[in-house]
């Protein structure tokens, strides 16, 4: 059938119209063969614009439409719905991207107009070869996986479980809780982090819909939205989780006591068998195989003898568990960056130069000093404390160190630290060197002002250039830009607001999830404004700092949002599949298995089929058969197929060739 194509050119306000002569584009495309209607309009995506499209489809009996507008990644779905509402197949729509890939990057109007016409022509050439497609359906596994057991992961899991769905948390550490468990107080309310976090941890631990895989890692992810298959490695903790009561006897009696305690960032020690902290969930001991005498050289076995529950099992091995999930939430969190490249602050030279997270532990009642602020070097009260902001944040890529982004949370927690210090120890001089103080949040600026005004924290606009340990003192040299002076401060403690970066496990996880990441290894969201908690990979959602720096309330809000997206997905029994899948022309298929070999989804199988040949004989042939519910439409098979029997709906060889032809005209 001869196609009847309608072309709709969007001005996008002035976004397109400023550099592309939209009416000229409409006029030129209107002359293309197959086009029976073409016009431009201010905002095609508006209700009025969509109505115009619908009316034109009906009035001109259009069989396909081309919208010259913004990126298809933005509004393809919108216009497909529009087309469907007007009674034509939603896959008879093509978008010519004349905004992101034309008007926004070209300054010359003639050039922009010419290119817009060419892009429009390519879209027309393609749509002429489009065929109506019907999306299939795929079943949904009603279970979610949350990767990461910090506040983001816990909140997401709790919200999903609340809606009645099974949810698993995979946490690489022996306990959930994450960074928040290490914090002392939280800004701007100064309530105790543990007091608000631990009840949630307990909830998660006790919720029958939630299963926690602690001390575990995701090792492989297969499948796709609605039907992921995930392998989880439960690392051997040498303690039977089901038997251990968490009494802690072993952790007290273990003869190996000199293990750096990671929970306190190495500022004190723990035993070889340990429970990270008192409120750990699950409250189960873990044996550190790097230090345990029994595991290292087979001598000791004390904990095993002591354990009344008989939970110790030195023979335990890593275990791989395979589960199916309908949705996956990444909540892998963050870490402070290494201070290796910032040695002007003498972090490696003096124990009294610490990071803010270490400061949290020094202030925490459960920390290495029992909540008393003492210098790590000599356990004396520091009298002069210098806080340095933006250490490794906001660095230019040219500088070759640090991160380009603002870590967002440092201004507030530094104000908190300064304030708490002054409150507990009024005799202490507290200096905060800042470049800018950024406090965009509810009650945030008030909080910061309180630190300066009520608690007398010295806020200095400037930056520390050098810290030199000299005897018991730290000589701090910095600039005071307002006073136009260089300051020299003899400090007892220097606290560095280290930039935060995504956890190192995020990158390999992103690869497994085929979720995209930015250059900083933060997960990319499907749309920065409109779909902030979804990854572009369907079925993968983002929670917490793995998507970008966030404070606790933001994290919790995002965790809830991610949970609601997951719930929205899991409450469907079936999902609409992408109809742009591969299909094989059985008459042309040779049965060579090339396509089967390259298919990442095992969507292609071979069947023996009887064919009635043109010469009236019958023949049994081995031919490829694509499972459209499993195929994701990458097209690898279409090129692997030597005979061209394999083609892809929506991106057929003919369609792409037609686009090439149209562009090269």
């Amino acid at each position: 059938m001869q196609q009847r194509i309608g072309v709709f050119v969007c001005h996008c306000g002035t976004n397109i119209a400023a550099t592309v002569d939209v009416s000229a584009v409409a006029a030129a495309l209107g002359r293309e063969p197959g086009v029976v209607f073409a016009r431009d309009y201010q905002y095609m995506c508006s209700q009025a614009g969509q109505d115009m499209i619908k009316d034109a489809i009906k009035e001109y009996k259009l069989t396909g439409i081309v919208v010259c507008s913004c990126s298809p990644r933005m509004h393809e779905a919108t216009f497909r719905k529009t087309a469907a509402a007007a009674g034509i197949n939603p896959y008879m729509v093509e978008i010519a991207n004349i905004r992101e890939q034309c008007s926004w990057i070209h300054k010359d109007k003639d050039e922009g107009t010419e290119k817009a016409i060419i892009l429009g022509r390519a879209a027309i050439a393609k749509v002429c070869l489009n065929v109506p497609l019907t999306a299939g359906e795929i079943p949904v596994t009603k279970r979610a996986l949350v990767i990461g057991g910090g506040i983001a992961g816990i909140q997401t899991a709790l919200d999903i479980a609340d809606a009645g769905f099974e949810v698993d948390i995979v946490e690489k550490k022996p306990t959930i809780g994450g960074k928040m468990a290490q914090l002392d107080k939280t800004f701007p309310t100064l309530d105790c982090a543990a007091c608000i976090l631990t009840p949630k941890m307990v909830d998660a631990g006790q919720n029958e819909k939630i299963h926690i895989y602690s001390y575990s890692e995701v090792v492989s992810v297969g499948g796709f939205v609605g039907n992921f298959t995930v392998q989880i490695k439960k690392k051997a903790r040498y303690v039977d989780e089901t038997k251990c009561t968490g009494c802690g006897l072993c952790t007290e009696k273990c003869p190996v006591k000199n293990v750096p305690n990671e929970f306190n960032l190495g500022m004190d020690t723990r035993h070889a068998v340990y429970i990270p902290f008192a409120q750990a969930v699950p409250k189960v001991a873990t044996i550190d195989p790097n230090y345990c005498l029994m595991l290292k050289n087979g001598k000791c076995g004390l904990c095993s003898k002591l354990c009344g529950a008989g939970a110790i099992n030195y023979k335990q091995e890593d275990e791989i568990i395979e589960n199916k999930y309908g949705a996956i939430v990444a909540a892998t969190g963050y870490n402070p960056i290494s201070m290796d490249k910032f040695d002007e602050f003498a972090y490696s030279q003096s124990k009294d130069v610490i990071t803010s997270l270490e400061f949290e532990r020094l202030m925490n009642a459960a920390g290495p000093t029992g909540g008393v602020l003492l210098r790590p070097s000599d356990n004396e009260h520091p009298k002069t404390i210098v806080f340095v902001q933006c250490v490794g944040s906001r660095c230019s890529a040219d500088a070759g160190k640090g991160k380009e982004y603002c870590s967002k949370i440092c201004c507030m927690y530094t104000a908190k630290h300064a304030m708490l210090t002054r409150e507990k120890y009024p005799d202490t001089d507290v200096y905060v060197f800042y470049i800018d103080v950024r406090t965009p949040g509810k009650n945030f600026d008030e909080f910061y002002r309180r630190a300066a005004e009520q608690y007398g924290v010295h806020y200095i606009k400037g930056m520390v250039g050098k810290v030199s340990p000299e005897g018991k003192k730290l000589k701090v040299r910095g600039s005071d830009l307002i006073a136009d002076k260089q300051l020299h401060i003899d400090a007892d403690l220097v606290v560095l607001a280290a930039a935060i970066e995504p956890d190192k496990t995020a990158r390999p996880l992103a690869t497994m999830l085929t979720a995209s990441m930015d250059t900083n290894d933060f997960f990319t969201e499907a749309h920065p404004k409109l779909r902030p908690v979804e990854s572009p990979t369907a079925g993968v959602f983002l929670s917490g700092c793995c998507q970008g720096p966030k404070d606790i309330p933001e994290t919790v809000a995002q965790a809830g949002a991610a949970a609601s997206k997951v719930i929205g997905l899991l409450c469907h029994d079936k999902l609409t599949a992408n109809p742009c899948v591969a299909h094989s022309d059985e008459w042309m298929c040779n049965g060579c298995s090339s396509c089967e070999n390259v298919c990442p989804y095992h969507a292609i199988t071979y069947v023996e089929k009887e064919f009635r040949m043109p010469d009236r004989t019958t023949k049994i042939r081995r031919v490829a058969s694509v499972n459209p519910a499993v195929c994701q439409g990458c097209g690898a098979c279409t090129v692997a197929c030597p005979s061209g029997a394999m083609d892809l709906f929506g991106f057929s060889g003919k369609q792409i060739s037609a686009e090439v032809d149209a562009i090269c005209r």
Partner: protein
């Protein structure tokens, strides 16, 4: 009759190429091919070029017309340009006779003007086959390679090339080069003819006859069981049809250009599964049928429609180039009356 020393041939070609485009067979790696004469080119000793001279009159691909589309308008444009006179030099008698076959097809009404125009402008200068190949069997079709025809006939003997114009076109060519030719009598040529005829008697295929073939033999030959065995190893590649001087099937196709269409024709082959495919499919579904079609056409159907003229001239090209060495000689021997 005229003559010129072989060593003076370059001067002859130079002279001719002042007025004509001259094409002559030159050697390449393992064969001979027609090439537009340029100074320094040497006439090949080999008789058979890989591609036959039919290419000059019925090229493998030939643009016929153009359609230009502008918006929704289509213009038809005749793209033929006036043709200059040209000479094809050194054509063997079998190839000369192939034009009889082609002319019957292309020049009968309605005449194929593309072909006709080239025939009108082309001058064939033939040559006698002093050194035929073992694959030659033109005698089978009554062709005499010692007495070549064409617009001018030539013989090579004793370091001399003898030329005899046969047509007005031939005379016109001679007049261009008469300055470097000398008059000659027929003696040397007659001796050469005798020599050639003796060689012909020694050819391995000298006894091959067309007996059992020709007009009216369809019913007898069509269902012969031998076809199955003969065709079983045929690859259906079409090499035989492309090197054949008399195969004249073509396909008309459209090529989409940037702003229109070029309609062109190109050689087709009855050996192809897609040959004469129509909406209802192909008339010949198996390779056996396609194989049979080619030989039946050469030996039965064509003679039936053209006064007994076979559409094979015995040049032997297909014998040399078939990848699996199946050919018309084997077919004739398997099916013919007296052969074998």
């Amino acid at each position: 009759m005229y003559k010129i020393k072989i060593s003076d041939l370059p001067a002859l070609f130079d002279k001719l190429s002042e007025k004509y485009d001259v094409f002559l067979p030159v050697d390449f790696d393992n064969g001979a091919k027609y090439k537009k004469y340029e100074k320094g080119d040497v006439l090949s000793e080999k008789l058979n070029t890989v591609k036959s001279p039919k290419d000059f009159f019925f090229p493998q691909t030939e643009d016929m017309m153009r359609f230009k589309t502008e918006g929704k308008k289509i213009d038809v444009i005749d793209i033929r340009e006036p043709k200059d006179d040209f000479i094809v030099f050194g054509v063997t008698e079998c190839d000369v006779k192939s034009f009889e076959v082609l002319d019957n097809v292309f020049l009968s009404e309605p005449a194929d003007t593309y072909y006709a125009e080239k025939r009108a402008h082309g001058v064939l200068i033939s040559r006698a086959c002093s050194k035929p190949s073992e694959t030659c069997f033109c005698k089978t079709y009554g062709i005499d390679p010692s007495e070549p025809s064409g617009d001018i006939s030539t013989w090579k003997a004793d370091g001399t090339l003898y030329l005899r114009p046969n047509t007005d076109k031939g005379e016109a060519v001679i007049s261009v080069i008469s300055g470097i030719l000398t008059e000659a009598d027929d003696d040397e040529v007659n001796k050469e003819k005798e020599k050639i005829n003796k060689i012909l008697d020694r050819l391995p295929l000298k006894n091959l006859t067309t007996e059992g073939f020709g007009a009216g033999k369809t019913a007898e030959l069509f269902d012969r069981p031998e076809w199955a065995g003969l065709s079983q190893s045929c690859l259906g590649c079409g090499t035989c049809t492309f090197v054949c001087p008399t195969c004249q099937c073509y396909d008309i196709r459209d090529f989409k250009t940037n702003d229109g269409v070029i309609r062109y024709r190109c050689w087709d082959s009855c050996m192809y599964s897609e040959f004469t495919k129509m909406s209802a499919g192909q008339p010949r579904l198996t390779q056996k049928e396609r194989f049979r079609q080619r030989f039946m056409h050469k030996l039965v159907y064509y003679p039936e429609n053209n006064g007994g003229l076979y559409s094979c001239v015995g040049c032997g090209r297909c014998l040399q180039s078939c990848p699996i060495s199946m050919n018309i000689v084997k077919v004739m021997k398997a099916l013919g009356g007296k052969n074998e």
